[in-house]
């Protein structure tokens, strides 16, 4: 067992963990942070994406001991990190996913939102192709990505209303 300490969603935690424990296992099983989910065992789906010291990582790809001394933000702590959380108490990206119907079953959603927040942080006004490339490590089976892309555009101020997510879209620059 190895002793680790980290700050998770604003809460300081110290625990003894088996060295092989993945960060996602520690979050889910050790801390009960079940908002972060596991969708695959090959690091392909991105459902477990969290922020480690502010950058998005797939938490199935990080050992808990590697996060020792780090700041970890999960979907459950995301709203608190936003300087411009809305009245609803949501992070603007969470608002955007709801506004644009960027989710259906919602299983990929925590990872997708965490990845999208990181994307906007690095590139505040991404083009459609930059959004598509920015989230290609996160798989979604329900939305066809159409409304997820729109949600990111909405969060970045490039889209006015959810009605834009329904049908006609502007010229697709990805192609």
């Amino acid at each position: 067992m190895t002793r680790i300490s980290m700050n998770v969603d604003g809460m300081k935690v110290t625990d003894d963990v088996a060295p092989r424990t993945l960060l996602v296992q520690y979050l889910r099983e050790g801390l009960g942070k079940t908002g972060t989910v596991i969708g695959c065992d090959t690091s392909n789906c991105g459902a477990c994406t969290v922020h480690l010291d502010g950058d998005s990582v797939k938490s199935c790809n990080v050992l808990a001991v590697q996060a020792d001394g780090c700041e970890v933000t999960t979907i459950e702590g995301l709203a608190a990190t936003a300087t411009d959380s809305s009245e609803s108490g949501l992070h603007p990206m969470q608002e955007a996913f709801r506004e644009c119907h960027g989710l259906q079953c919602g299983f990929c959603t925590p990872g997708m939102i965490m990845q999208s927040v990181d994307l906007i942080k690095r590139n505040p006004q991404p083009s459609e192709s930059e959004i598509r490339e920015g989230i290609e490590g996160n798989l979604c089976r329900c939305t066809g990505y159409h409304n997820i892309v729109r949600a990111v555009q909405y969060a970045s101020g490039q889209l006015a209303t959810a009605a834009d997510t329904r049908g006609a879209t502007e010229e697709v620059d990805a192609l």
Binding site: N44, F107, R141, H146
Partner: protein, 825 residues
């Protein structure tokens, strides 16, 4: 008390872009996935799975695992008693269907790679998985049969004791059914001066690949079993547990909490669920099993996997006179819960939107040493739609006209509805002309055809293809009597309850359990509209058999059209029940009352009472009419008298690099007719997701086995789910021909995009290459297959080796392609 002024006008909810109620928990990670459930003393299971597709089990040594740290039990088949049960086959399509008994844990022989041979229970999931590695199983490998082509030869048998791989033969003949003429006569007539097209298409095997892996928890408390499962079918599952274990339904509570996608893939009583139930019962402790993604791809059921041999006869100018379908469907190692019947559903859709005068469908289901197949988004209908929409393009090419012209020539005209098809279905409403006209305009059809002609004339290495799919489907499964006539083991009705609470809020209970479709939102809109109460005041409860005691769950685009209508009827019953009470309290005659905006008013006066006020008065029950029950609750069960038939026109533009075989989607538009729409935002999401799932079949997804029966595409590294970077945004719109089989006028939408998009994409790829002599590209249209189709004249891959043999030389479309000749066309 509800403020009258705040109440929406009647119908203000229908057709409104409501943001989803579900999202609040899903976007904040406060979600109830089954794998999030942890109970005191809970044990975790790991499965020991066969690496071989077909082998005799000659010994199992569990001693190493049993003595492993934190392990509580290790069991093989011999260690379970009869309470484990046998997996259900609920759709025996013929009385003599061959269906081997399917034990959840293999007894002495494994029949597909991934089949469970032993189970480990431990105090942690990690300990269970570690110990599972220590179970030593001795296998004596047997010859395995994997492909349909090999299986139908009966040389190698998936189940040697059956003596054949052929499970059942199901036939529909329009001449015998009295719905049309004789196909053989139509073909023989066409052989003299008409057109006879023979084509063979392959529906590759697909994996539903819901994002949430399957997970199940069983808590045996006293005599009561509470089961949480990531399932589409909590009600059917409860029935199945009762039927397979002997524990009565009253002692089984099944909860489908938040469920992360299904697409038909969570429509089983799975072996894993049966094992968890049996282990919880045996050990007297809560038990959980959550599969890994690799296990999911390997052992949760697969879909499609059919070979369709088609013979179409037509007049010289393209009027279809008959269609004959000979279909082989790979069931895998066992006949799944409805897997045997999935291709039969397709039987009714091969004639699609067309007025075929003669039709014959011969379906042979076949067993192999592969994972069992069952319903996958669309279930039978995508396969049929693909075949006929590809074939209509081939007919257009043969006649030398635009593919839309061939369709117009053969489709059912708007004024002909209702129309009974050659397959015996009566389409109640539809307007193919309107949807197609709108789609053409959205797409800029004529302009793209002009660009295509220019590229062809210029021998542009990047050719443009335009793909068309004018699809229809039967959805809203029900009607029960029809399902019964097909030997389907269950009904198709749906149940609903509407209850007014003392504070005037509304509790809605539905048997249609959701897994991402937004039932809580759409159903709230329906009930808010019907009762005239605020959307926010409606709470929809579902997915728990102790709350929603009756139901048939969610599949086949049935929730809204069957479950939604049940809600309407339950809500109307509440109003009927309330009206005399309102009259009594208002001291007016029932005939003098009018109901509007959630309020009963006495005609010609300002006297009235809101539904919420009435609910409070009924709760208090101080002053009710004699003989009236003190509640405003009602329930209804709805069983429609017909399916409903969404349709639409989908148009796709693909750019195909004739030098590398690479394909790129340029534009995709669709105009669907799904009748009246409750929530356009949700509908759009369903369409987008469906489109990508169908496009993925056309371009990327393929569950590949090697000759030994090992699943090569056994992880997300190899099984290519599309990413955001692979796909494009869509333009979607609608025309509206309300369904006549429910008062909402709605039709299903969940499967439409998937059904329609696959042929649209492949038609576009083939259309781009037709001047090069290419008339087929096998799915998925990988660059290699496209390149081979261009350069070798086949359909581009090993998977259509069988198909090539069926091509009719008389069409002039077989044989090697002469690039020079092709370029000159």
């Amino acid at each position: 008390m509800t403020a009258v002024d705040a109440r929406p006008d009647k119908s203000s909810e229908i057709g409104r872009d409501r943001r989803r109620k579900e999202d609040a928990r899903l976007i904040t990670g406060r979600t109830r996935w089954t794998d999030n459930i942890n109970l005191p003393g809970m044990l975790h299971l790991a499965m020991v799975r066969s690496p071989f597709a077909h082998a005799r089990i000659t010994g199992i040594d569990t001693s190493g695992a049993e003595t492993s740290e934190n392990v509580v039990a290790v069991l093989a088949a011999k260690d379970f008693d009869e309470s484990l049960g046998v997996c259900i086959n609920a759709w025996p399509i013929t009385p003599d269907q061959k269906a081997p008994a399917h034990p959840p844990v293999a007894v002495d022989r494994v029949t597909f790679a991934g089949e469970i041979v032993a189970v480990v229970a431990a105090r942690s999931a990690a300990a269970a998985r570690d110990a599972a590695e220590l179970v030593e199983v001795d296998y004596e490998e047997l010859p395995a049969v994997v492909s349909l082509e090999e299986a139908v030869k009966d040389e190698v048998l998936a189940h040697p004791d059956l003596g054949t791989n052929k499970s059942a033969l199901w036939v529909f003949d329009s001449a015998e059914a009295g719905t049309g003429g004789s196909v053989d006569e139509a073909i023989s007539t066409a052989q003299n001066g008409g057109i006879v097209l023979e084509r063979t298409y392959r529906q590759q095997r697909l994996i539903p690949a819901f994002m949430e892996p399957r997970s199940v928890v069983c808590d045996p408390t006293g005599e009561q079993f509470t089961v949480w499962s990531a399932t589409q079918i909590p009600h059917i599952l409860r029935f199945a547990f009762a039927a397979t274990t002997g524990v009565p339904e009253s002692k089984i509570r099944v909860i489908a909490p938040d469920v992360g996608g299904g697409f038909g893939g969570k429509l089983q009583q799975t072996p894993e669920e049966m094992i968890v139930f049996a282990m919880a019962r045996r050990l007297g402790k809560p038990v959980k099993y959550t599969e890994t993604r690799s296990e999911s791809l390997l052992a949760a059921h697969h879909g499609r996997d059919q070979i369709q041999k088609l013979t179409l006869s037509a007049t010289k100018d393209g009027q279809v006179t008959g269609l004959k379908v000979e279909l082989d469907a790979n069931l895998g190692a066992y006949v799944a819960i409805v897997g045997g019947g999935v291709p039969v559903l397709g039987a009714f859709m091969f004639n699609a939107i067309y007025k075929f005068p003669a039709y014959q469908f011969n379906c042979q289901t076949v067993l192999t040493n592969t994972t069992w197949t069952d319903a996958y988004r669309g279930a039978g209908r995508p396969e049929a739609t693909y075949a006929i929409e590809r074939l209509m393009d081939e007919l257009a090419a043969e006649v030398g006209v635009d593919p839309l012209e061939i369709r117009e020539k053969n489709w059912i005209k708007h004024e002909e509805f209702p129309f009974t098809t050659v397959a015996g279905l009566t389409y109640d409403s539809g307007n193919y002309e309107a949807a197609t006209a709108k789609a053409k305009e959205m797409f800029g059809y004529d302009e793209l055809r002009r660009e295509q002609a220019e590229r062809r004339a210029n021998n542009d290495p990047i050719q443009l293809g335009i793909g068309i799919s004018t699809f229809t489907e039967m959805c809203g499964l029900a009607p029960s009597r029809v399902l019964g006539s097909l030997d389907y083991g269950a009904g198709g009705w749906e149940h609903a309850e509407v209850r007014l609470t003392p504070t005037g809020k509304v509790e809605v209970i539905t048997g249609a359990s959701a897994h991402g479709q937004g039932h809580e939102t759409a159903f709230s809109q329906i009930v808010a509209d019907r009762l005239g109460v605020p959307f926010e005041d409606v709470e929809v409860l579902h997915g728990d058999t102790q709350i929603a005691a009756k139901g048939y769950d969610t599949y086949g685009s049935r929730s809204l059209v069957v479950g939604g209508e049940a809600l309407v009827r339950a809500a109307d019953k509440v109003l009927e029940k309330a009206k005399p009470i309102a009259a009594h309290l208002l001291e007016a005659s029932v005939d003098d009352l009018e109901f509007s905006g959630g309020r009963w008013a006495v005609k010609g006066t300002d006297q009235g009472m809101a539904i919420g006020e009435l609910a409070t008065a009924v709760f208090a029950a101080h002053n009710l009419p004699d003989g009236v029950e003190a509640n405003l609750d009602s329930e209804a069960t709805f069983d429609p008298d017909n399916f409903n038939f969404p349709h639409g026109t989908h148009l796709c533009a693909m750019e195909v690099d004739t030098e590398t075989g690479a394909v790129k989607m340029r534009r995709y538009i669709c105009c669907d007719d799904i009748g009246n729409i409750i929530n356009p935002l949700i509908v759009a999401g369903q369409v987008h997701g469906g489109l990508v799932q169908g496009i993925a079949q056309a371009l990327w997804e393929d569950a590949v086995y090697d000759d030994a029966g090992t699943l090569v595409s056994g992880s997300f590294v190899d099984y290519l789910l599309p990413t955001a970077a692979d796909t494009i945004s869509f333009e979607i719109d609608h025309t509206t021909s309300p369904a006549t089989t429910n008062t909402l006028g709605t039709k299903g939408v969940g499967e439409a995009g998937t059904i329609a998009s696959t042929p649209a994409v492949v038609n576009a790829v083939v259309d781009a290459l037709r001047p090069l002599g290419v008339h087929d590209v096998a799915m998925p249209c990988t660059p290699e297959r496209v390149w081979r189709a261009i350069n070798e004249g086949s359909a581009g891959g090993e998977t259509t080796g069988a198909a090539a043999a069926h091509f009719d030389p008389s069409t002039g479309m077989s044989g090697n392609v002469d690039r020079t000749e092709g370029d000159a066309q």
